[in-house]
């Protein structure tokens, strides 16, 4: 008990007392420190928690054709919203009747979204009509929790399909979102194919953000700092395409009911005037969320409308490849323009290679092109040699991707010694394999896009620019075109050789050749037909040509699948595109253009005329209609 006296109850009580007092003192000090001294710091952090950032989705840039005519535009579309917190389900019947939905539709959607905050509006139906919107406006008082927003969607005002060229936007996938470095949010739309995909970075614009104060129920109660910190969204850049709306329409008209592809190029610039892959699909079905049924139909269609035939179809070019052999032979000095080869109706090399329409008798290279004599070119390729020939084919871009500025492309096949050795082994093939290459058959395969590049190179004497669909974008400040740069192409073939080959192609249309039906009154057309043998059905028809012969302004390559003879089916389509393009530029006001050496001056004049309209147009669309999204900024601390 000595211990309890020395260190008894009173001392122990005091110890506990001081522990109590000192802990409470520390606590009071810490509370004072946090709530008074550091109050501002914590208050700011807390304010971050009550500010909601609303993303302002910018308007997408529009597309102009080469004459500054809008071919892809934006249009408002109304989406009906319901905010569950203030909505009364008794209204279901009325609204379902007004929007033409089945009974139970709204309940189903509300149930689907039950896990989200009931203060966040739910998208009930996209693309509701303007009548529905006016009904909502008129009956606002009786419709608590019912509202709408204006989304922007694509519109194709000029009845141009151009589905494979324009492409469409699609809701961003999880994979794309993961690869993205911070621009996109869930539910954003992103260019999926065609120009929409390649030029996504120009078209998408810059997102803005609007900061709103929210009350404890996350209702917006006002703007944060009167919008001082807000950032306006910036509209995407408008693109100026190289296509000509009229030529494009003519091309699409020509393909009605046919399968195939067409590419028309301005030879001097590499600008694509028309670009068709047929059958097309209707881009209007892809402006918002595409119904599953449409996807199913498109994917199961035996004609494969989603397949871009212009850049993906690989087929033997047939006789359209004869000019290439002629170029190689003339350039390599294997023949002269005067060299005569006899056609007895065929050619024996290991076996008999037949000439169609023959015997043609003795002829020079020009006439061999005119009559498309097989015998001549069977012998020619043997004289040139496989690898020299293959080298020329590659100079004109065959066996390589053309690098056109849209989506995926096939490179095709240009056989060479290396290719055959790889495929059959060094002793597994004979020179007999080469003979049919001379007339564009055998293992040679090309895309319509490659053929178009090739014919434009011929038309412009071996020089051009990488084919492309977009000329540039409109600078939003100066409203002037900012052109994109594309690599020049030079095949290094002499002008003399080209003159001879072009004259041969002139004769095809204007002489006793195979494409007389491509003639256009008042305009000289040159061209070449071709037939790609199809072991599975009717042959595929090719035609390539350019006009005017004297100063080529358009070069066209056409493929019509399962059509038979090239001249019958393919040539008329090419002709109509040329007419649509050239006749317009021969209108009185435009005749000054052709006098002008390259039409540049006139283009500027056209631009100046059109620019004010462009401005007005975009201003009109610039009304704040950005899609609103709630960002998770409020959670970050």
């Amino acid at each position: 008990m000595t211990n309890s006296r020395k260190f008894g109850t009173d001392v122990r009580k005091s110890i506990l007392y001081y522990i109590l007092v000192s802990f409470c003192a520390v606590l009071v000090f810490q509370l004072f420190n946090m709530q008074v001294i550091k109050h501002e710091f914590f208050d700011e952090k807390s304010a971050d928690n009550s500010i909601k950032g609303i993303v302002q989705t910018p308007l997408r840039g529009v597309f102009y054709d080469r004459n500054y005519k809008i071919v892809v535009n934006n249009k408002p579309s109304y989406t009906l919203l319901i905010t569950p917190s203030s909505y009364n389900r008794k209204l279901n019947n009325v609204i379902e009747t007004v929007i033409g939905a089945e009974p139970g539709y709204i309940d189903e959607i509300l149930e689907d979204n039950i896990q989200y905050s009931k203060y966040i509006p739910i998208r009930v139906q996209r693309d509701v009509s303007f009548q529905v919107i006016s009904w909502i406006e008129e009956n606002k008082e009786q419709l608590p929790g019912v509202s709408y927003i204006v989304d922007m969607e694509r519109e194709y005002p000029d009845s141009i399909m151009a589905s494979h060229m324009f492409g469409y936007t699609k809701e961003i996938s999880r994979k794309q979102l993961e690869a993205d470095k911070g621009y996109y949010d869930m539910g954003d739309f992103i260019g999926n194919n065609g120009i929409e995909k390649t030029y996504e970075k120009y078209l998408r614009g810059v997102k803005g953000v609007k900061y709103m104060l929210v009350d404890s129920r996350r209702r917006e109660i006002g703007r944060f700092k009167d919008g001082l910190n807000d950032k306006e969204s910036i509209k995407g850049d408008d693109l100026v395409l190289t296509i000509d709306a009229d030529a494009q329409k003519a091309a699409e008209r020509g393909f009605k009911g046919l399968k195939g592809a067409l590419v028309a190029i301005e030879p001097k610039t590499g600008e694509i005037i028309a670009f068709v892959s047929s059958p097309e699909y209707d881009l209007n079905n892809f402006t918002t969320v595409t119904p599953k049924e449409i996807w199913r139909n498109l994917n199961s269609d035996p004609d494969k409308p989603l397949y871009n035939r212009a850049t993906l179809s690989v087929l033997p070019p047939g006789s359209t490849f004869k000019p290439l052999a002629a170029i190689a032979a003339l350039e390599e000095g294997v023949i002269t323009p005067q060299t005569v080869i006899n056609c007895p109706g065929g050619f024996y090399f290991g076996r008999f290679f037949k000439c169609h329409g023959g015997p043609h008798g003795p002829m020079t290279v020009e006439h061999a092109l005119e009559k498309s004599c097989n015998t001549f070119f069977y012998q020619l390729i043997l004289r040139i040699g496989l690898d020299k020939w293959s080298d020329y084919a590659k100079r004109f871009g065959f066996g390589h991707k053309t690098g056109v500025d849209i989506s995926e492309e096939n490179r095709g096949i240009v056989p060479s010694t290396e290719y055959y050795n790889k495929r059959y082994g060094p002793n597994g093939w004979t020179k007999g394999f080469i003979v049919s290459l001379g007339i564009g058959q055998g293992e040679l395969s090309v895309t319509p896009m490659q053929l178009a590049k090739y014919v434009s190179l011929i038309a412009n004497d071996g020089k051009s620019v990488k084919p492309h669909l977009v000329r540039g974008y409109m600078d939003p400040e100066t409203k002037k075109l900012v052109p994109f740069k594309f690599d020049p192409i030079d095949t290094k073939v002499s002008k003399k050789t080209m003159e001879i080959v072009k004259h041969g192609m002139y004769l095809v249309v204007n002489g006793a050749g195979t494409a007389g039906n491509a003639k256009i009154p008042g305009i000289t057309v040159a061209g070449k037909t071709g037939t790609a043998q199809n072991p599975r059905g009717k042959d595929h028809a090719w035609f390539m040509g350019f006009a005017p012969y004297e100063d080529p302004k358009i070069a066209v390559a056409v493929l019509v699948e399962n059509a038979g003879f090239g001249a019958t089916w393919a040539a008329p389509i090419a002709k109509s595109v040329m007419m649509a393009y050239l006749n317009k530029s021969s209108l009185p006001q435009n005749q000054t253009v052709s006098k002008d050496s390259n039409g540049l001056k006139n283009q500027n004049a056209l631009k100046d005329q059109n620019v004010p309209k462009v401005q007005n147009g975009s201003k009109e669309q610039n009304r704040p209609k950005g899609e609103e999204k709630i960002v998770a900024a409020s959670i970050k601390n």
């Binding site: 009173d10 506990l16 109590l20 409470c24 509370l31 946090m34 109050h39 914590f42 928690n49 009550s50």
Partner: protein
């Protein structure tokens, strides 16, 4: 005697007004805060009504206890301890797992937290043991038995695992043994390994400093070299064993320890609550944002705020003034308990131990809970007595203060 007592009768003689008022004011403030915290939370909207019910039940328990026979608590101490230990074993077997912890037993529509009731059993049994005439706190066996009574629930609760509640039992045991009159050296021997473990959480250097302090303490006590050496070895071992045990802790617990050492190490995970709690209280300022106006509370930045983070509601919506009122009420309560405990000690040691045990339980809850919300303690989930939502906790605490009120009423008997 009778007539005189009638004449002199005053309310304070039989009824501790300070104790009663502080407890019921705190409970009332708790209801107010729970209402605010659950107002916009669909998953917890019924909690205010439920808590009202629990307040009713607990108040009844308080008064039943208050009017009970003063002798009954000593009598029930052993059975209540055994019963609550059995409950703690049961929860490990049939318990329901919530957030990785097995703390709950379903009884019909309610869930019960046995560890809350085990506090009552442990306070009573340990008080009974320490107040026995046979118990000599200077004998090593008495010390070991006393600690064993407290450590059985600690181990069972650590298995749930519920670190916060285990700490409450630890503190309860230490305080009671201290109150009994353990020598400074005995206390030093018992506590120092705990400090060694705590310091080793922060790394090697703090651990070495702690060991140096232990060595200095041993030097001060001037005990035999072999005893001093053994105690030092115990400390050293405790630090190493902790690091060994740390590897086998659940990831949840490892994270608790890691975020305590550095709360910013995981701002969106375990550190999130620590940061949001401070933001809520700090942004409250002097006068608070107003009732139901705290955006931290109303926008539910802190999960399950009506339980362990209820103090944030008060700090945010009622500011420093509100926080100080709560802290003061607790302080009055604690001070009152300490006073009663020393008043009754001469007459009835058991009663004194029960009151000190109650103080230890309530104060440890208070210190850990408010300490964690203001960033002085790690985020260890324990409820704030009388304020946090939860029936088990409220009933157990009300039962304990009911016993204290009973002891106060009968303090002048047994003379």
């Amino acid at each position: 005697m009778r007539p005189r007592s009638r004449i002199d009768y005053q309310l304070e003689d039989k009824f501790d007004v300070v104790l009663f008022l502080s407890v019921f004011l705190l409970t009332g403030i708790g209801l107010v805060a729970i209402y605010s915290a659950t107002l916009h939370n669909p998953s917890a909207s019924g909690n205010f009504t439920k808590q009202l019910f629990w307040v009713g039940v607990s108040t009844t328990i308080f008064f039943i206890t208050y009017f009970a026979s003063p002798r009954s608590f000593n009598l029930v101490s052993v059975p209540s301890y055994i019963f609550t230990i059995l409950l703690l074993v049961a929860v490990l077997v049939i318990g329901k797992r919530v957030y990785g912890q097995k703390c709950w037993i379903d009884i019909g529509p309610f869930s019960m937290q046995p560890s809350e009731f085990a506090k009552v059993g442990t306070v009573l049994f340990l008080s009974m043991f320490l107040s026995r005439e046979k118990t000599n706190i200077e004998s090593i066996w008495s010390i070991i038995t006393g600690f064993a009574i407290g450590f059985i629930p600690v181990i069972l609760i650590l298995l749930e695992p519920d670190m916060g509640t285990a700490l409450v039992f630890l503190s309860l045991t230490v305080v009671l043994v201290f109150w009994k009159g353990i020598s400074l050296f005995g206390l030093f021997t018992m506590i120092s390994p705990g400090l060694a473990v705590f310091s080793s959480m922060f790394g090697t250097v703090p651990f070495i400093i702690c060991l140096a302090a232990v060595a200095a303490g041993l030097f001060f006590f001037k005990k035999k070299l072999i005893i001093s050496g053994a105690i030092f070895a115990m400390n050293l071992g405790a630090g190493f064993i902790f690091n060994f045990v740390f590897k086998y802790l659940s990831p949840h617990q490892k994270q608790l320890i890691e975020t305590f050492v550095d709360p910013n190490s995981d701002p969106l995970g375990a550190g999130y609550n620590a940061i949001q709690a401070k933001v809520a209280i700090g942004s409250g300022g002097l006068l608070g944002k107003g009732y139901l106006m705290g955006n931290q509370t109303q926008l539910r930045f802190i999960p399950e705020q009506w339980t362990d983070f209820i103090f944030c509601v008060i700090g945010e919506e009622f500011g420093l003034i509100g926080s100080l009122i709560v802290v003061s009420l607790f302080f009055f309560l604690f001070f009152r308990l300490l006073k009663i405990a020393s008043q009754v000690r001469e007459r009835n040691e058991f009663n004194s131990f029960v009151v000190i045990g109650t103080l230890a339980v309530l104060f440890t809850h208070f210190a850990i809970n408010i300490g964690m919300t203001v960033g002085l303690m790690p985020i260890i989930g324990v409820p704030l007595p009388f304020l946090s939502y939860g029936g088990s906790s409220l009933m157990a605490n009300m039962f304990l203060v009911g016993i204290v009120a009973n002891i106060y009423k009968n303090r002048k008997q047994y003379t």
